[in-house]
C-alpha cells in the first residue's frame, strides 16, 4: 500500500527547476497529503483492531457469565418476598401474642401462647405456606424476566445444581427447626431459620449473581445476634426476612435490572 502510492512521485520530479517551481510545489503538497492520508488510515486500522479485540474480550466474558450463572432472578421479586415476610411476621405476632398488636416488646406470655398445640400448628403452616409462596413468586417472576430479556431459563444441570445447593442447607435447617419445636426450644427457631437461610444464599453464590451472598452474610449476622438475645425472636425474624429482603431487593433492582 505504502510503496504503491510512493512510486508516482520519484525523486526526479522533485528536483528544483525554476520553470516548474509552482508545479513542483503542488506535487509536493499532494505528496504530503498522501502521507497524511496513509498515516490516518494506519491509525484508523489500528483503532479498529483495538475495538475488535476489546469486543472479543467482552464477548468472552459475557458468554462465560451467561453460560455459568443464572441471571434471571428478578429484583422486584426479592422486594415482594420481603413484603410477604413483613405480613407473615405480623400474622405470627397475632398467633403467638394473641390480639396484642405491640409486636416487639418482650412478653412472657408469648412463650405460654406458643406452647398450645393449635398455635404451633398454625405457625408451622404459616411458615411453610410463606416459603412455598415465596418460592413460587421468585420462580414465576424469574421466568417472566427471562422471557423479556431472552435470558436462558431451562431446567438444565446448572439450574438443578443451584437449586440443590440452595435447598441443602435450607432442608437441614428445616429439620433442625422441627426438632427444636418438637423439643420445646422455641426461642432458637428464628435464629436457626436466619442462619441456615443465610448459609443457603452464600452456598449458591457461584450459580447466580455473586452479590447475592451479601444478603446471606446479613442473614447470618442477624441470626448470630439472635442466638444470644432472648425474647426478640420475632423482631429478628422480621428484620432478617422482611426488612433485609426489601433493602437488598431495592439495591439489586438498581444494580442489575435498571440498565437492561
Amino acid at each position: 500500500m505504502f510503496s504503491k502510492s510512493r512510486q508516482p512521485y520519484n525523486t526526479s520530479r522533485f528536483q528544483i527547476d525554476e520553470a516548474n517551481i509552482v508545479k513542483n510545489f503542488t506535487t509536493s503538497l499532494a505528496y504530503l497529503k498522501n502521507i497524511f492520508l496513509l498515516c490516518s488510515v494506519k491509525y484508523f486500522l489500528k483503532d479498529m483492531n483495538k475495538n475488535d479485540v476489546l469486543e472479543n474480550l467482552r464477548d468472552i466474558k459475557q458468554m462465560m457469565e451467561k453460560s455459568s450463572r443464572f441471571q434471571a432472578i428478578n429484583g422486584v421479586s426479592i422486594i415482594i418476598v420481603g413484603i410477604y415476610a413483613c405480613i407473615a411476621s405480623a400474622v405470627a405476632c397475632y398467633l403467638i401474642g394473641g390480639a396484642d398488636w405491640l409486636p416487639f416488646l418482650p412478653k412472657n406470655d408469648q412463650i405460654l401462647h406458643l406452647n398450645t398445640p393449635t398455635r404451633i400448628r398454625w405457625a408451622v403452616i404459616l411458615a411453610a405456606g410463606l416459603f412455598l409462596l415465596s418460592f413460587f413468586t421468585v420462580t414465576a417472576m424469574a421466568h417472566a424476566k427471562a422471557k423479556r430479556h431472552q435470558l436462558r431459563f431451562e431446567v438444565d444441570k446448572r439450574l438443578l445444581q443451584m437449586i440443590f445447593n440452595f435447598l441443602l442447607p435450607l432442608g437441614v435447617g428445616a429439620v433442625l427447626c422441627t426438632a427444636l419445636i418438637l423439643q420445646g426450644h422455641y426461642g432458637l427457631t428464628s435464629s436457626v431459620m436466619l442462619l441456615f437461610y443465610g448459609l443457603a444464599l452464600v452456598n449458591c453464590q457461584h450459580y447466580t449473581y455473586p452479590s447475592l451472598r451479601f444478603l446471606g452474610y446479613g442473614e447470618i449476622l442477624l441470626g448470630i445476634i439472635d442466638c444470644f438475645s432472648i425474647h426478640h425472636a420475632l423482631l429478628f425474624w422480621f428484620l432478617g426476612f422482611g426488612v433485609l429482603h426489601i433493602l437488598f431487593g431495592i439495591l439489586y433492582t438498581l444494580k442489575y435490572d435498571r440498565k437492561k
Binding site: 474480550l57 464477548d59 468472552i60 458468554m63 453460560s67 431451562e154
Partner: protein, 99 residues
C-alpha cells in the same frame, strides 16, 4: 502490527469457536443443545465447529444415550485450556501495547 497479531490463535478467530471455548472454560461440561441455544447456531454449524476444535485437541466429546435420544456432552481438554489462556493473554498484551 502484524508481529503483534502472531500471538493470536487462528483456531479462535471465529466468533462461534470463541464462544464454545469460553462456555467450556466456565463450565465443567456442556451438552450440544445448551451450546446451540447459548450461541444461537444451527445444528450443522455447531457440529462443524465442535468437530474442528475436537480435531485440534482442544475439546473432547462424550456420546451417550438418554433413553433413546443421543446426547453429546463436550468438555475442554488441558491443551484447550492452555491454548485459550494464551490467546486471551495475547489479546490483553495487544491491548496494552496499543493503548
Amino acid at each position: 502490527m502484524i508481529d503483534e497479531l502472531n500471538g493470536f490463535n487462528k483456531a479462535f478467530e471465529s466468533k462461534a469457536r470463541l464462544g464454545i471455548m469460553s462456555i467450556l472454560m466456565a463450565n465443567e461440561s456442556a451438552d450440544f443443545t445448551t451450546l446451540k441455544s447459548l450461541l444461537g447456531l444451527t445444528d450443522g454449524n455447531l457440529a462443524g465447529h465442535t468437530r474442528n476444535l475436537e480435531e485440534l485437541g482442544f475439546i473432547q466429546s462424550e456420546k451417550r444415550f438418554i433413553g433413546r435420544k443421543p446426547n453429546t456432552t463436550f468438555s475442554i481438554t488441558e491443551a484447550g485450556r492452555s491454548a485459550f489462556t494464551a490467546h486471551i493473554a495475547a489479546l490483553e498484551t495487544f491491548l496494552k501495547n496499543n493503548s
